[in-house]
Structure formats: C-alpha cells, structure tokens
C-alpha cells in the first residue's frame, strides 16, 4: 500500500491467511481481536507518503458478503428449479407418449391374434370340416404361438397400466401378505410341494394390492425356478434397517447366470432356455416396477450353494411424488 498507493480492502480477513508468515501473525492477531475485515489506505502529509492507516470494520463486510452470496444462491436456485420443472414436464410428456403407444399397440395387436386363435380353435374342433393328423399338428403349433402372443400382449398391457397406477397407501405386515399368495401359487403348480419359512416381524406402508402382485411374482419366480427340488423351500425374511424395511425372498433353485444379472428386471428378458421354463419374462419386471413406484429398490443375487435371493428395500414412510404436476 505504501509503495503503490492503492487502497487494499480485505472484506474477509479469515480468507487472507495465505499471506507470508509475518502477515499471518498480524492477521492472526487481528482475528483474535474479532476484527473481520481490514482496509489499508496511504495517508499523505504535505507531499510525502508517510503513513498507512488501518481501518477495521468488524463483521459488517462479512454480512454484506453473506447477503450477496444469499442473493446469488437464490437466483441460481430459481434458475435450477425452473429448469427442473421444464425437464419434468418434458419427461412426463415423453412418458405419456410412450404409454399411449404401448397401450394402443397392445390393444390393436390383441384383436388379430384373437382372430387367428379363434379360427385355429374352430378348425381343430372340426367346425369347418375334417383336419388330418399332419395338418392338426401344424394347427396346434399355430395355436400355441397365438396363445403365447396373446399372453405377451396381456402382460405388456398390465405392465404399461402399472406405471399409471395411483398408489393407495395402507399399513400391513408384508410377511402375512406374502404367505397369502401361496394358495394361488399352489393352484398354478399343483404337482409341487412348497415349504414356507418366514422370519421377522415388520410393518410397512405401501399399496397393499400392488404389493401383493409384487410378492406373488417373486414367490412364483422362486417356485418356477426350483424344478428339481422334491420340496421347494421358500424363505421369506423381513427386518428394519435404518429407515427402510428390507424384505427378501430366497429359494434353493437353479439361480441365474451371474453375467446376466443386469437383465433380471427388464421386461421380456428370459435368462433360461424357453423349453425349460414357461413364461413371458415379465414377472420380475413387474415386481421391480412396483417396488420402484414406491421409491424402493430391488436386487437379485445367487446364493452360495445354489438358489437365488431377491432383496427389496422399501422406505418406511411413503415416498414423496417424484414428479409434481403443474398445480403442485
């Protein structure tokens, strides 16, 4: 300051501690006196530069700096919020378009498939004249494929409807709910014997109806992929962990190829050969979608010694809506 005559102002003294050692000592002393900012000017006496004045303004400059920072932060936050709202609206639009496409496609695909199946049924039932054995075998193939396509369309429709569901939260015990899916599973696999092992006691807030569908898919998956077991052992465990409910469904079945794990929850992915296991490959995708709708996560892994375990983590409190509508 003495040399150049330029006024030096340090609004935040604490930020100036990178100065050389002697200055640090000086600043340290100033800080100890709770001086927070410092201004140095050159004073002139007659025509000679003589003296440097030290003026301190405890805290004032800091408050000013804070206020400026606040205003800048608020401006930045507003900009980001506006961008987020635009982005959310755009995502919602894209999502709606996609849903419309998949629903329309599913509806419009269904009618022709049912016509194909209908005529094959009529042919096989002899309603349009006699069919010899070779032709019958071909028609059976057409029927099986039409039935499979019909099934796929039904699943696709159900999956796309799922995204538009409004969750109706209620409190329930997920283990009891899981147990209640067994009747349906036993109907579906009448020749299988299922052993049910449940452990834990938790309460969960979620959409009970959707959660049942989710559990049904996990239990069905566990039974389906345990074909070689005399008794299919399903273990279901629940516990609290921090602010989450952790629920797992394990089996002693065939597991899945570890390198395909990232495809487990994608729709219409089948990780095993067609002839070994029936199904369209939407069970786990449906389960995962329901878990995610609730703000939860799901993962699958192979167990040591064979079998798979699916573990889901659900927030104990209902998740706030991820996308808000314009009104909100």
């Amino acid at each position: 300051v003495l040399r150049t005559g330029t006024i030096a102002m340090l609004p935040l003294l604490a930020a100036a501690l990178w100065l050389p050692h002697t200055a640090v000592l000086l600043f340290g002393a100033l800080l100890a006196m709770t001086v927070s900012s410092w201004t140095v000017v050159r004073l002139l006496r007659r025509d000679a530069s003589l003296w440097a004045q030290l003026a301190s303004q405890p805290d004032e400059a800091e408050r000013l700096a804070d206020r400026m920072a606040c205003r800048e932060t608020a401006d930045a936050a507003r900009t980001i919020a506006a961008a987020l709202v635009r982005h959310a609206a755009r995502l919602k639009q894209l999502n709606d378009d996609l849903e419309t496409v998949s629903t329309t496609v599913s509806h419009d695909l269904r009618a022709p498939v049912q016509v194909i199946k209908g005529f094959v049924d009529a042919l096989l039932a002899g309603q349009v004249g006699s069919v010899d054995d070779a032709a019958r075998a071909c028609l059976e193939r057409v029927r099986r494929n039409a039935a499979r396509m019909d099934e796929l369309i039904t699943d696709l429709l159900a999956l796309s409807r799922l995204s538009r569901e409004t969750l109706r939260y209620e409190r329930f015990d997920p283990l009891t709910l899981a147990r209640s899916t067994l009747d349906l599973i036993r109907d579906r696999y009448p020749d299988r014997s299922v052993e049910w092992l449940a452990d834990g006691k938790v309460e969960l807030a979620a959409d009970r109806r959707l959660f049942r569908v989710m559990l049904q898919n996990l239990v069905d998956n566990a039974v389906k992929f345990s074909p070689d077991e005399a008794v299919c052992r399903i273990e279901v465990q629940a516990r609290y962990e921090r602010d989450e409910v952790v629920l797992s469904v394990s089996d002693r079945g065939v597991g899945f190829p570890a390198e395909l794990a990232q495809r487990l929850f994608r729709p219409f992915q089948r990780l095993h050969p067609n002839d070994r296991f029936q199904g369209a490959g939407v069970g786990l995708a449906t389960a995962a979608r329901i878990v995610r709708l609730h703000g939860g996560t799901i993962e699958g892994r192979n167990r040591d010694g064979g079998g798979a375990v699916f573990e889901l983590r659900m927030p104990q409190k209902p998740a706030p809506a991820l996308l808000m509508t314009e009104d909100e």
Binding site: A111, V115, G118, F119, D121, A122, Q127, T154
Partner: protein
C-alpha cells in the same frame, strides 16, 4: 322367431361367432352387421326383430355404447337382450356399456376360452332371461 344379431366391424370376428353358433346347433335366424348404423336402421325399418344382440364395443362411427343407446329408443329394440362384447376388461369400458342400457358385458375369448364357450354362455343367458315367449 326373433333374430340373433351380431354387430362387429371385423368380418373375421363375425365369422368366428357364426361358426360357434353353427357348431352349437343354434337355429335362430341370424342377422349380421359390420357397423352400428346398419344395425340401427335395420331394426328401425323392421327388417330385423332382435331377440339377442351381440355388440362390439370399439367400432368406427357409432360405437357399441352409442349403438345400444339408439337401439333402446326404437320400438323394436326395447325388449331385446343386448350383450356388449369386448377384448377390454377395463372398468371404464364396462361402465360406459352398462350406462348405455346393455344387459350384460362379456369378454371376447382369451386364453383357453373359445368362441364356443363364450357363445354357449351368452345364448344360455338369452334363453333363461328372454320373457317374450317367442324366441
């Protein structure tokens, strides 16, 4: 004898229903229409006296519910049994149908159900509930 009336914009669906009716040995005189408008004008002119009307929900022009509402306003259509048929099981579609004055709502065959199963159920319903005494 009053007519068994089939209304569906798809001739394929009509043919499937016809085959099923034939194989069930149902000998009611059959009238088929590929649009709601055609069906309404045939009933209005008296060319057709409907006993049971099987009506597709989604049709271009007059759709199922609109056709049903028009039929109900005609002298010839007041006492007919109207069964709405659809591939949809959505509550909204069912509600629209029932509000238009249909008697029943039936899903077209999916899965293991065949047209014979569906037609057998629907005509059984007709025989049980028709009170005109002149099927």
């Amino acid at each position: 004898m009053r007519n068994l009336v089939l209304v569906d914009d798809s001739p394929d669906q009509i043919e499937l229903m016809r085959l099923a009716i034939e194989s069930l040995g149902i000998d009611r005189p059959l009238a088929t229409f590929v649009s709601g408008e055609d069906c309404v004008s045939a009933i209005a002119s008296g060319a057709v006296t409907p006993g049971l009307i099987l009506l597709d929900v989604n049709m271009p022009g007059l759709d199922g519910p609109a056709t049903a509402a028009r039929i109900r306003r005609l002298a010839g259509g007041r006492t007919a049994r109207i069964v709405m048929m659809s591939t949809s099981d959505q509550p909204e579609d069912v509600r629209r149908g029932l509000e238009a004055g249909v008697d029943s709502y039936v899903m077209k065959p999916t899965g293991h159900r065949t047209w014979v199963d569906v037609m057998s159920a629907v005509t059984g319903y007709w025989y049980r509930t028709d009170l005109s005494g002149c099927l």
